[in-house]
Amino acid sequence: MALLQITEPGLSTAPHEHRLAAGIDLGTTNSLVATVRSGSATVLPDRDGVQLLPSVVRYLPDGAHLVGAEASARAVSDPLNTISSVKRFMGRGVEDIERLGSSLPYAFVAGASGMPLIHTAAGDRSPVQVSADILSVLRQRVEATLGGELTGVVITVPAYFDDAQRQATKDAGRLAGLKVLRLLNEPTAAAVAYGLDHSAGGTVVIYDLGGGTFDVSILRLNQGVFEVLATAGNTALGGDDMDRLIAGWIMQQAGVSDAVGHSLQRRLLQAARRIKETLTETGTGAVPVSLELEDGRTWEGELDRPQMNELIDPLIRKTLAPCRRTLRDAGIAVDEVDEVVMVGGSTRVPRVRELVTEFFSRELLVDIDPDKVVAIGAAIQADILAGNKPEDEMLLLDVIPLSLGIETMGGLSEKIIPRNTTIPVARAQEFTTFKDGQTAMALHVLQGERELVDDCRSLARFELRGIPPMTAGAARIRVTFQVDADGLLGVTAEEQTSGIRAHIEVRPSYGLTDNEIETMLRDSMEHSREDMDARRLREVQVEADRVLEALQAAVQEDGDRFLDAQERAAIDQAAQALSTASGGEDHRAIKKAIEAVEAASAAYVEHRMNANIQKAMAGHSVDEFKR
């Protein structure tokens, strides 16, 4: 049988070839990349041996940019063009950012589609672009270290990120030329890194306090299955806020007003951070601070640990409310918790550990470096998703962190999918028309727990068009909200009586449309017109490889069982055609050939999947259960 015995240049048929995959922790303060090499996950350093990449980008007047330590070194002298903590702005609107505080040293301008742009010497940059610039550096780091092109990556996000924030992160990955296999929640990644499913098992709390975000998740672990029961958090709460509190104290002591310049603001925050880090390492004594003020005076003072604890206590206590909420949502009492894992650089602060220990009344797990644990977990998951461990039984079942709803009459939000529902999930809702001959209708999708629309996050507005004209109330429009395994929302709509699918126009409230991303890709310095075409061709070729490879593995396994000669011939022919097209340069032709393979193999693929389900249930029969 000649089926799929094809080896085109660049098309691998070796089943156990190691595919390059990486896990990326795109953090508020620092970002890391890790990969699995000879069985264990390690964080990759840069050329100078440094593992943590400061999440800072500095834009220069000539359009170039610097990322990491080189950028943060100039944060004080060039504050407006040096962007740090950009994660806080992902998926946010201009009003949100104003609410984040007046202390932000950047010049924001409102972009199209409500997304804020940061005005820099190199032009206006969206938070997605800034994040993409950080991701690109990490990508280059992996590819240089491993000597090859990445198959795909897993990027971690705070569990409490809403749809807009997740979408923005995925867009940043795409903009950086990465194939994002999965967005993984940070607490879940940490649980994977600890491998608690094998050792301890049971019920585990992950307490994750990073630079700018706080998450807490409760998981039930059982032999490779990581099942998230509940998650809560605050995407605008982290170590940065401790710095701000300490900086506020300095300002108060030094008699400085709130309206200080950008440069002093930066120096204040840097001093605050240094104090926090020093007091975290040394328990006793006071840390001296000296700061040159704008009027030329030099202020000198000192802070000790009890004083710092007093300043940051309210902030740490703020993290305990979500802890309580997750316990309540998961239906778990504090004494039923088996382990508490600490994640995120801010959990190094002794006072954080004290209060969390007190809350859960148990010792904390701090064995893995809290800065690296998330990237390591992501790398392990990426390795599995890339197909390097076909026998691995690991399964991550995550939840949607915030309820999804739609706006109803009177500015109220009607919940469609409640928070902490396991994903993927889909819910359908039926709507009708209220005017004769109405052919369109607008829907507003929201995320959040509150009743009033104004208190929830606006995710997107959808317009359903092409509804067949009928008398008022006669049309039955079924709108299905699907949340995928990444926690991302998709919407489809169908008029039930006619079967007509309504056209949906997605307008993310604070995100980028597909077209905008395309334009950005084209505009970016790295991708000229030819690059764009080459890139599109390369993408579709990779997809073709994937389809052929998956099909070949399937047919080898059970083609004889499920396919008769005729079906097999049809699949064979389509695959042959795809292989030929993939060797060419016409991306449209390849796309078409992929669709043809999919059409020819649809029934077979479905058959296989159903057989898998049947196999999974084969051990458990109805009769066995009755006994």
Binding site: E227, R328, T421, E606, M609
Partner: protein
Amino acid sequence: MSSFLTLNYFELFSLPQQYALDSAELTVRYRDLQRSVHPDRYARAGDQERRMSMQRATRINEAYETLGDPMRRGRYLLELRGHPPGDQQQTAGDPAFLMQQMELREELAGVREEADPMLALDRVAGEIRAHYRGFDQALAEALDRTPPENEKALDIVLKMQFYTRLQNELQAMAADLEDELY
């Protein structure tokens, strides 16, 4: 098993079509099913296969959630038997039940006045859960006897729905309180 999407939830989990259920066994089967279809198993497959896998994983989640919750399982079983509870359906007049409802509602409304509202909220949540669980045995008896007492079961399901609704109100209140307090 050519038409996965037409299998009912009991068939999907290879479980007998009855109310009584071993929840530990349900969880074991759920994990085995998700292990076989979850989209992460198809990360390298083509788009079509990934769509199919997501569809199935979604349905398995839905089935697990329905079978795992006593009220929803009872309701689903009644639907399968052709006795779907309607939206406007009333419970049979049961003064004791109505009284209990009123008391719980009053207690919930008074939570804000208490010294520790969050603690009070947890207390009310516990009471609601206890009442809800109290129906489990009665529902099993009504649905699993031969012949089944579907009308009686319907009444119990409707009563359980009251508690579910109350539970939802409590959750919303907890969210509001947290926002105010912290």
